[in-house]
């Protein structure tokens, strides 16, 4: 177990944006007194890595899982933000649409109302009531046609 070099793991984590607490890798593999090899020799490191391979894999898996969680959550958050913007835009569009529709309806009503008012204000109408009915009916039809176009 001893002698596993953690410097590379820390570097990978920092590059992934994950702040691991710093763990000093000063522990070395205990060696017999008559062993003349250095503690951090490539052979020792390879042996330590081989012994801990399953754990190293587990750690790497853990890092990948964290990264995956972060990416997935960012995607969901971005979707929520997009939904918010859509909702606001929809509300704004609805207000504009309603405003335009009502303005159009009110304008058409005003045209007819002013015609009726004008007819009513004449003391001696130059047109008969039947003629006026025809005119106003035709006007309403025309206005309806204009609305549909």
């Amino acid at each position: 177990m001893k002698g596993f070099d953690l410097e590379n793991v820390a570097e990978v984590n920092q590059s992934e944006g994950i702040n691991l607490p710093e763990v000093k890798s000063t522990t070395t593999v205990s060696k017999p007194e008559n062993d003349s090899t250095t503690t951090n020799s490539p052979q020792t490191i390879t042996q330590a890595a081989a012994q801990n391979f399953s754990k190293i894999l587990e750690l790497a898996g853990g890092l990948v899982e964290i990264k995956k969680m972060k990416v997935a959550s960012e995607a969901v958050l971005a979707k929520m933000e997009a939904d918010r913007k859509i909702l606001l835009a929809e509300a704004e569009a609805y207000v504009d649409k309603m405003n335009a529709a009502t303005k159009s309806a009110v304008d058409r009503m005003n045209v007819i109302r002013l015609m009726m008012q004008d007819y009513n204000q004449q003391s001696s109408p130059n047109i008969t009531s039947e003629d006026f009915k025809d005119i106003i009916t035709k006007t309403i039809e025309d206005l309806g046609r204009m609305k549909n176009e």
Partner: protein, 105 residues
């Protein structure tokens, strides 16, 4: 415990922390989304009420003028239909306004 066990422990702690952060971010974002949904709904209802009141005012004026000439000309079918059309429009806006709020998940 060996170094690798310490790292495993630290990694587990980090995973928990990240999960907690993500949950908190989700909660905040979802609350914000709900607030926006409510705000959007409120904006639409405000627009509906405003349009209904505009139409009602204009309809009243229209009916007053129509009733004045009705004595001379009698009933004008197209004008009557116009009044019905506007009343229907007001009713539709009102129904739309009173629809229950559906919150998207």
């Amino acid at each position: 415990m060996s170094s690798i066990d310490y790292v495993s422990l630290a990694l587990a702690a980090i995973k928990d922390k990240v999960k907690q952060e993500i949950a908190e971010e989700f909660r905040e974002s979802y609350t914000k989304l709900l607030e926006t949904e409510v705000q959007a709904r409120r904006t639409k209802v405000q627009a509906d009420i405003l349009e209904m009141s505009k139409l009602s005012i204009e309809l009243s004026k229209f009916e007053v003028t129509y009733n004045e000439i009705k004595c001379q000309c009698g009933t004008i079918e197209s004008v009557e239909n116009k009044i019905l059309e506007i009343r229907k429009r007001i009713r539709l806006i009102s129904e739309n306004k009173n629809k229950p709020l559906i919150i998207r998940m």
